[in-house]
Amino acid sequence: MRRVWAILVAGVFLYFLVGQFLPIIPTFGNVDLFARVAFDIINKSTTTNYNAVEFKKSKDLEDGSANVVTSIVVNYRSFDTLGEVSVLFCAAIGVGILASMLKSKKRIEFEEHKVLRISTGIVLPLILLFGAYIFIHGHLSPGGGFPGGTTIALGVLLLMLSNNEFKVTNVAKYVEQSAGAGYVVIGLMGMAIGGVFLMNFLPTGVVGNLFSAGVVPIVYTFIGFKVGAELSNVISDLREG
């Protein structure tokens, strides 16, 4: 009976979406980018006059990151990202508090395996290096602070699975707090220099160089450290109980 109801409810939702919603959205791939906000962002100029951006040639633009998604996330909508980081922070704190309130303090023990333990020693530095690469090159290639931090946290998880004595120490908490504070300090510096919170106050350089895009790589490095430490804390809280 429950399943029949479920199929009915899901069917009504699908009928509504396909019947009412599909006709008013553009067909797949048929998007006029000139009419959208994204056109200004892709050409890195929110004023009326613009020139087409060219890789490794255009310089001193509004925002110098080659990855346009990064330039939206960390430059044009940076305040939004600050809020997002705060939401993740609140979730991590909530997980920590709720996990420490559990009555049965049962630590999850894994069966130690020699092959996993030795191969972790080989693979772990590469995982951490790859995570750091992802968030340092967030303005040039796919990725950024969030995937890079998650990769680092996965390295910590691998360490936890292979070694029963391993514990995430308080260092992770300090890293998280100072990285979060660093993001706000960058914002306040923008306010002091340019008059706008989270303004890109450094020179933006040539599109496609490693040292370009002003504060974007710095902010993404902070976010990478913060997310890595935060997710390591979440995993560790869930394990320690």
């Binding site: 069917g11 080659a66 998604v69 939206i72 997980v95 709720l98 869930l238």
Partner: protein, 117 residues
């Protein structure tokens, strides 16, 4: 037939709604919520696709802009991170519920509460 990706995301959304309504285990309902999250993300990214557009990154392959809409992708990046937060917090809350009532079935939890009161 070009709209097939929209139908795919709607079908995944339907699977999620079916899971929330039909399952009795609260953890399975949380996973269904996560599936709905994924479906909405697929839908939003699909809204920004431009035909023959490349990934919105200036590189040696695409030195001049021929891109899909980057704005939905940026919004989805935010949504994914918040989805992770919801999943972590929700699962810890479910551990609490399981510790207090010894079950994750809403009906059994209701029965236990009535006995306690």
């Amino acid at each position: 037939m070009s709209n097939i990706i929209y139908y795919v995301s709607f079908i995944i959304l339907g699977i999620g709604i079916y899971g929330i309504v039909s399952q009795k285990n609260l953890f399975k309902q949380l996973i269904s919520l996560s599936i709905i999250d994924t479906a909405v993300n697929i839908f939003i990214v699909a809204l920004g696709y431009v035909e023959w557009g490349e990934a919105p990154i200036y590189s040696t392959i695409t030195p001049v802009a021929n891109f899909v809409d980057p704005l939905p992708q940026a919004l989805v990046l935010t949504a994914i991170v918040i989805g992770v937060g919801i999943l972590a917090l929700g699962s810890v809350l479910l551990v609490h519920i399981n510790e207090k009532y010894g079950s994750l079935d809403p009906d059994e939890i209701r029965d236990t509460r009535e006995v306690v009161e």
